[in-house]
């Protein structure tokens, strides 16, 4: 195989080799009299990848200019400057490829009305290589050298990040050419670098009468013809070509103290920022303003941290900061919750200003960013907070290759599920209904498709995912265990983008971009569907399911309108449908529908006002059509409207938030309707349930000093059940504190109380999409609970490793368990089948996280328990004789590893390892005869366990191609789910064998390696 490849490659090279020579001969023939000029070499290497911007000085278009080359003048020559290689290119005509002129022979040239000089060629051999624009001649000539640097950085922005606007900018292409401009002058016959501001100051002055450069050129040309290269005199008029506001100063009132004006640096990242001049032996002060890159708002509370000295500070209410550092090389890290962490390399010479704009996005691959992210963790009192961005999510291997939000969440410590391909998840010993899942503020009652095989969220739409499992912000509530916030992208402001993905079972599509020319309004839309029916059709003809069908689809639409830097309006819509049916006798359908509108004000003074309202609906319909006379549809649904407001403002070292959270519920617990004309089923409907849940909250983030901060919150929760009036109310307390012992070592503790008034009615181990919801009423009290948490966090700054150890204890009351054989559907006396139980959960979570370098990821181990105990003793029927028994999701030991190895920029390998103790089950231990049949006698509830779970997945990812001429880009993932092929138990069931022996069986769903391929197309 290798030999064949080598032979093929050699033949290919032989075939292609003559092309260059052939091209050069063609040039010379066509160049005619100018052939001497065109004897330069062909460009040695084109940039093969797709990129943003251009490596040319201004644009790829060649323009006519005049040139002094090899002692001769050439006029009206097609010229362009490769500013990355500092090579001057000429073309014989538009149809010919360019050639590179030897730098030793080019003295100067004009292009686009600007004058460029090759200092090396006119007597300044020590000057950095390049063609300098002469901005003004004189005794102190001002020269500008523009260089283009090839960069690769996901998440950068057009314009400010690359230094100029690329009209063909493509946000999905990470490679670009960064424009860097440096100013020089000549002092005592030597070239000297000056700051931008100094250049500005000099250019404001009138030109003197000693045209140094012109004189030097005259020396080389032997005449005064240099001036004739351009119609315009070489003078300060060139300044007019500089970008508008190029020299705009930082407003003085935003700077604490006067700064050396010559030490201003721009705020673009991915380069070394030189601040100040000279060599200060004492400390240096860097000041600036941190703003939101998208809105331009100043951001208070940004942590600014220097990796070398471990000095840190925080931006004030106006986003201003000032930090004292040692001169020399430093790495300044900027971190703020919800914003992308930024690490800037700065070379400090004297006091200076560094303004920074923080984008919304996170980039976990950027080195040193982790340090800032880690430090941010040491600066906040928040605990049990995980944030995963979509780039990390799509790299985590998953069955069938589709980036799965919920599976990514399951890879976090403390998050579990009862089995593979099961909907719902359990956080720190809580049941699945104790997790509030918000998608752009809308509540998603069923976050999975196809019984849990896929999540409900289209990964192309999602921007990031946040999970709060301990310190839940005051504006969230109504659930006992966690809040999962999924935010979608807002749409590209520059131009239309899209993606198309094709997988084994699903395909998806998305489109985003601006609406109108103002670019103030953007949209994002997506759709996803499955074609799983074909698998069913391939089942044996005598299979009961051969004529069945199953599938899902979901749709997203989001519109964002930015009124100005402070006011934003956003509309979101989401719709999902699932269906499956078999042999036309039984069908299942369920759907979600969510819409919301949000208005947000974010003032420069740090004040935030946000209000959002919306409507959520989840509905499921079961069709039982086997018997004509008894055919019926059974429908249940939950609808809710919500209004949430938040007002937050800084006061001294406090940050106060307050608001109202109001939800109105409407539940249809069950409606049985006849199906078909011959059905004799009588239309029946359980009484609708209505309730309102108004909550007032206030919270305070109080930074007592640099080492100690406290977050406190109070929620006044109330719940009014309207159907048969019943009112519940009670306070919820949220308290957490942080003590930073060292800059990279902190301790935290927290205590939360929570209330929950809505319950998922399910007596199955896994969450079924057909499960229904129930409100608290006069018979079912709200579930209440508290959680105490403590943790220690240490960041090893040099390796970027974050170590964390968190322990928690959770106590719950009025959780719901079920009597054996409880009737949960169409039961008007449902509460009689429910068993209120105490719950307790405790555990320790240890995690090591690495987000720097080529290998990133995390590894965690958790020990946790979750148990129930009946609140009322009911004789021998009392579950576990009234003692504590295992919750169905109690899995004590859990080990997780998620790793990504970036072999190159494009190629990476991902691994995912998941181990956990088997879940508890109730098993039959005997049998007895009744009604002429054998039946099982069972153990106490959940007193046995299925075997442990272990799975390893591997994936090889090829990120979007960078080919120059490609109209589209594609990414490709190939992987294997369950590499070891371990037969992980999914469920256990028992059958009586032919010999009369009862035998247990384990069903393993993914009992072998599942290879997958996923192809994504970006355009």
């Amino acid at each position: 195989m290798v030999k064949r490849f080598i032979i093929f490659a050699a033949l290919l090279l032989l075939a292609l080799a003559p092309l260059k020579a052939q091209d050069q001969i063609s040039y010379q023939k066509q160049a005619g009299a100018l052939s001497t000029l065109y004897r330069g070499a062909l460009p040695s290497e084109l940039y093969p990848y797709k990129y943003n911007g251009t490596y040319f000085l201004e644009s790829p278009t060649f323009v006519k200019g005049n040139l002094f080359y090899n002692g001769k003048y050439y006029y009206d020559i097609l010229l362009n400057l490769d500013a990355a290689k500092q090579e001057l290119l000429v073309k014989g005509n538009e149809n010919l490829a360019p050639v590179v002129l030897s730098g030793k022979m080019v003295n100067f040239f004009t292009m686009n009305g600007k004058f460029y000089v090759n200092l090396n060629a006119i007597g300044f051999p020590d000057a950095p290589k390049g063609y300098y624009q002469l901005m003004r001649d004189g005794e102190k000539p001002i020269l500008s050298l523009v260089e283009k640097k090839y960069k690769s950085q996901a998440g950068y922005h057009n314009g400010q990040d690359i230094g100029y606007d690329d009209p063909y900018y493509d946000r999905d292409v990470p490679d670009y050419f960064l424009r860097k401009e440096t100013f020089y002058t000549l002092k005592n016959g030597n070239i000297a670098r000056i700051s931008r501001l100094a250049a500005k100051r000099e250019l404001k002055k009138e030109a003197d009468h000693i045209p140094l450069i012109t004189s030097l050129m005259q020396k080389w040309t032997g005449s005064s013809q240099a001036a004739t290269l351009n119609d315009s005199p070489i003078a300060s008029s060139f300044i007019t070509v500089l970008p508008e506001n190029f020299f705009e100063e930082i407003p003085e009132q935003e700077v604490d103290e006067p700064l050396d004006e010559e030490s201003i640096s721009s705020s673009y990242r991915n380069k070394v920022y030189v601040i100040g001049s000279g060599n200060s032996s004492t400390s240096v002060r860097v000041s600036g303003v941190v703003t939101d890159m998208e809105t331009g708002e100043t951001i208070p509370g940004v942590v600014i941290f220097d990796s070398n000295t471990r000095t840190h500070t925080e931006s004030d209410a106006k986003g201003r900061y000032s930090i004292t550092l040692r001169p020399g090389d430093n790495v300044l890290n900027f971190s703020y919750e919800g914003k992308e962490d930024l690490a800037l390399k700065v070379e400090l010479h004297s006091n200076g200003v560094l303004n920074v704009e923080l984008p919304d996005r996170i980039n976990l691959l950027e080195s040193a960013i982790v340090s800032a992210q880690s430090i941010a963790n040491h600066r906040t009192a928040s605990m049990g907070h995980d944030m995963v961005n979509i780039r990390t999510i799509v790299k985590i291997p998953s069955a069938f290759g589709e980036g799965d939000i919920l599976k990514a969440v399951l890879s976090l410590p403390g998050v579990k599920s009862v089995g593979e391909a099961s909907g719902g998840f359990n956080v720190r010993g809580g049941s699945p209904d104790q997790n509030l899942v918000l998608f752009n503020g809308n509540t998603i009652y069923n976050p999975s498709h196809m019984f849990g095989i896929f999540s409900s969220f289209n990964p192309d739409i999602v921007e990031n995912v946040e999970l709060y499992k301990s310190s839940i912000p005051a504006q969230y509530g109504g659930r006992l265990s966690s809040v999962l916030c999924v935010e979608s992208k807002r749409g590209n402001t520059d131009k239309l983008h899209g993606s198309l993905s094709i997988g084994l079972l699903t395909s998806r599509f998305h489109l985003d971009g601006p609406i109108g020319k103002s670019k103030k309004t953007t949209f994002i839309a997506g759709a996803r569907t499955t074609y799983s029916d074909w698998i069913l059709k391939r089942l044996p003809a005598n299979s009961y399911y051969n004529s069945g069908s199953a599938g899902f689809s979901d749709y997203n639409l989001g519109i964002t309108h930015r009124i100005n830097n402070e006011h934003t309006i956003r509309l979101n819509g989401y719709m999902a449908t699932d269906r499956f049916s078999f042999s036309q006798d039984t069908s299942f359908r369920y759907s979600s529908f969510n819409v919301s509108a949000e208005y947000k004000y974010r003032g420069a003074d740090g004040k935030v006002f946000q209000i959002n309202t919306g409507y959520d609906q989840y509905k499921n319909i079961t069709g039982i059509h086997a018997w004509t006379y008894g055919a019926y549809d059974l429908e249940t649904s939950i609808k809710q409207v919500f209004l949430r407001s938040l007002y937050a403002f800084p006061v001294a070292n406090h940050y106060i938030s307050t608001g109202l959270d109001m939800v109105g519920y409407g539940l249809n617990p069950g409606q049985m309707s006849p199906f078909g004309l011959n059905s004799r089923v009588v239309d029946q409907k359980l009484k609708d349930e209505m309730a309102v849940e108004p909550v007032l909250f206030v919270s305070d983030k109080w930074d007592i000093n640099e080492k100690l901060s406290v977050d406190g919150a109070l929620r006044l929760s109330s719940f009014l059940y309207l159907s048969t009036p019943k009112f519940y109310a009670g306070p919820e307390f949220r308290l957490s504190a942080r003590y930073t012992l060292l800059d990279n070592l902190s301790f935290k503790g927290g205590f939360n109380t929570m209330r929950q008034n809505i319950h998922l009615i399910s007596n199955t181990a896994g969450v079924s999409p057909m499960d229904t919801w129930k409100l608290s009423d006069k018979n079912i009290a709200p579930t209440t609970g508290w959680q105490a948490t403590g943790g220690v966090y240490w960041t090893e700054l040099h390796t970027g490793l974050d170590f964390s150890l968190e322990a928690y204890w959770k106590s719950m009351k009025n959780c719901l368990d079920y009597r054996p054989g409880a009737q949960l559907v169409m039961n008007p006396n449902l509460s009689k089948d429910l068993l209120p139980v105490f719950g307790k959960a405790y555990g320790v979570e240890a995690q090591v996280k690495k987000v720097t370098g080529d290998i990133t990821g995390w590894v965690s181990y958790c020990y946790s328990r979750s148990k129930f105990k009946e609140m009322e003793y009911r004789g021998f029927e009392t579950l576990a004789h009234g003692n504590w028994y295992n919750a169905p999701f109690d899995k004590p030991h859990e080990f997780k590893l998620v790793a990504n190895w970036a072999i190159t920029h494009r190629y990476s390998v991902s691994a995912n390892i998941d181990y956990s103790t088997g879940r508890p089950i109730t098993v039959p231990v005997g049998q007895y005869i009744i009604g002429q049949q054998y039946h099982y006698a069972y153990t106490q509830r959940n007193s046995y366990r299925i075997p442990d779970y272990f799975r390893m997945d591997l994936a090889f990812n090829v990120d979007p191609g960078h080919y120059l001429k490609a109209v589209t880009h594609s990414s490709f993932t190939i992987g294997v789910y369950n590499v070891t092929g371990r037969k992980n138990p999914y469920s256990v069931f028992f059958k009586t064998t032919a010999s009369g022996r009862v035998q247990g069986y384990l069903l393993s769903v993914f009992a072998t390696q599942i290879p997958y391929v996923s192809f994504n197309l970006l355009f």
């Binding site: 029927e877 007895y928 009744i930 469920s987 022996r997």
Partner: protein, 368 residues
């Protein structure tokens, strides 16, 4: 639905497998009492006492117990031991409007049900028959008289006339290993009667219907069944069930069907309506139902639906005759051997003897 979810998940993924799983079992489960009682006022009542069997075969023989049915007004009906573990109660004349409870005294512990009111039983409107390509379906139409008869237990007994597959035309003489013609075939063993009881009870939940439930299919048999040879009678016994009893049986069946998968209810012991009133912590399995009953008989001429089937006959070499005769085979009738010759066709005795096929020559009666 849960079953569908379970199976379709497995099928969709197409990579599932099933393998054995053994659990360590407790040792004392076989001592637990099991009571299976049906108290039918105006009909047969019985109580069955047994113990739990372990999966490895441990079983304690049915113990003796004292059984007593108490009427609220003081009347009592003791259980009479019929055979080990089986007690009959004579409740034919018991007051149907009273409340009852059952008391079981076993190993010095007393178990009792609560006082229970009997649910009314609806009337049977019709027993219908219909057929599709393969089966004959028997359906039931009932008229519910009040809401308490929302749950019904249906059992049935069948009696039908059938014939053997062949009329025996040949005989075998083992003395000389010869086959001979029977001049007058014996028709007395050609037609027989058969009687069968339904296995267990079929439960009907009428909660989705009005007062009239029409054509509820509760039984079926193959069109090639010998039930279609001639006269066919079915007696349907309808017994009212309380909601608790309905749920008990439903839960019991659910527990026994598929346990332990993600979409099946968490299994667990279904609580009995018996309690050990002398020791609350003592468990007991089983259920005692209290009900009223009614029945109806319907008949069918199965020849309308029959799909003929034949049982194959075998050809043996003469030297094999004795061997197969001793194995229960006998010559039945002549068959072509494919070469233009007629040779004896042999078959099991049940092919020509309906008694050997399980029938009786006398027409049986339905049980009371």
């Amino acid at each position: 639905m849960k079953k569908h979810l379970y199976i379709i998940t497995s099928l969709l993924l197409a990579a599932s497998c099933v393998y054995p799983f053994d659990v360590e079992l407790p040792s004392d489960i076989e001592q637990t009492l099991v009571v299976d009682g049906v108290i039918v006022l105006g009909g047969n009542s019985y109580v069955n006492i047994s113990n739990v069997r372990t999966f490895d075969g441990r079983y304690t023989a049915p113990p003796s117990a004292d059984i007593l049915l108490e009427e609220e007004n003081g009347a009592t009906y003791p259980g009479v031991l019929q055979f080990p573990g089986y007690y009959r109660l004579f409740t034919e004349d018991a007051n149907q409007d009273s409340r009852y409870r059952l008391i079981v005294v076993y190993k010095d512990k007393t178990y009792a049900t609560d006082w229970t009111e009997l649910a009314n039983v609806p009337t049977i409107d019709r027993i219908g028959f219909s057929a599709d390509d393969t089966d004959v379906h028997v359906s039931l139409s009932v008229n519910r008289t009040d809401a308490r008869s929302q749950y019904l237990s249906v059992s049935f007994q069948e009696i039908w006339h059938f014939h053997a597959t062949y009329l025996q035309e040949l005989g075998y003489n083992p003395k000389d290993n010869s086959v001979y013609f029977i001049p007058t075939p014996d028709r007395s063993r050609y037609w027989c009667w058969q009687k069968s009881n339904s296995s267990g009870n079929t439960i009907l939940n009428c909660s989705g219907f009005g007062n009239i439930v029409e054509d509820w299919p509760f039984a079926k048999f193959s069109r090639s069944s010998n039930r279609n040879h001639g006269e066919y009678y079915i007696k349907v016994n309808l017994r009212s069930m309380s909601r608790d009893e309905y749920r008990y049986w439903k839960n019991l069946n659910d527990n026994s069907a598929i346990g332990g998968n993600l979409f099946s209810p968490e299994p667990g012991d279904v609580p009995s309506n018996l309690r050990c009133i002398t020791d609350e912590s003592t468990a007991v399995y089983g259920y005692v139902s209290f009900s009223k009953a009614c029945s109806a008989i319907a008949s069918l001429d199965g020849r309308y639906y029959i799909q003929k089937s034949s049982e194959g006959l075998y050809q043996f070499d003469p030297e094999e005759y004795r061997q197969f005769y001793e194995m229960g085979y006998e010559p039945v009738r002549q068959l072509g051997d494919g070469m233009g010759n007629l040779v004896p066709g042999w078959g099991q005795r049940r092919c020509f003897d309906c008694v050997a096929a399980g029938g009786k020559l006398e027409k049986p009666e339905f049980d009371r």
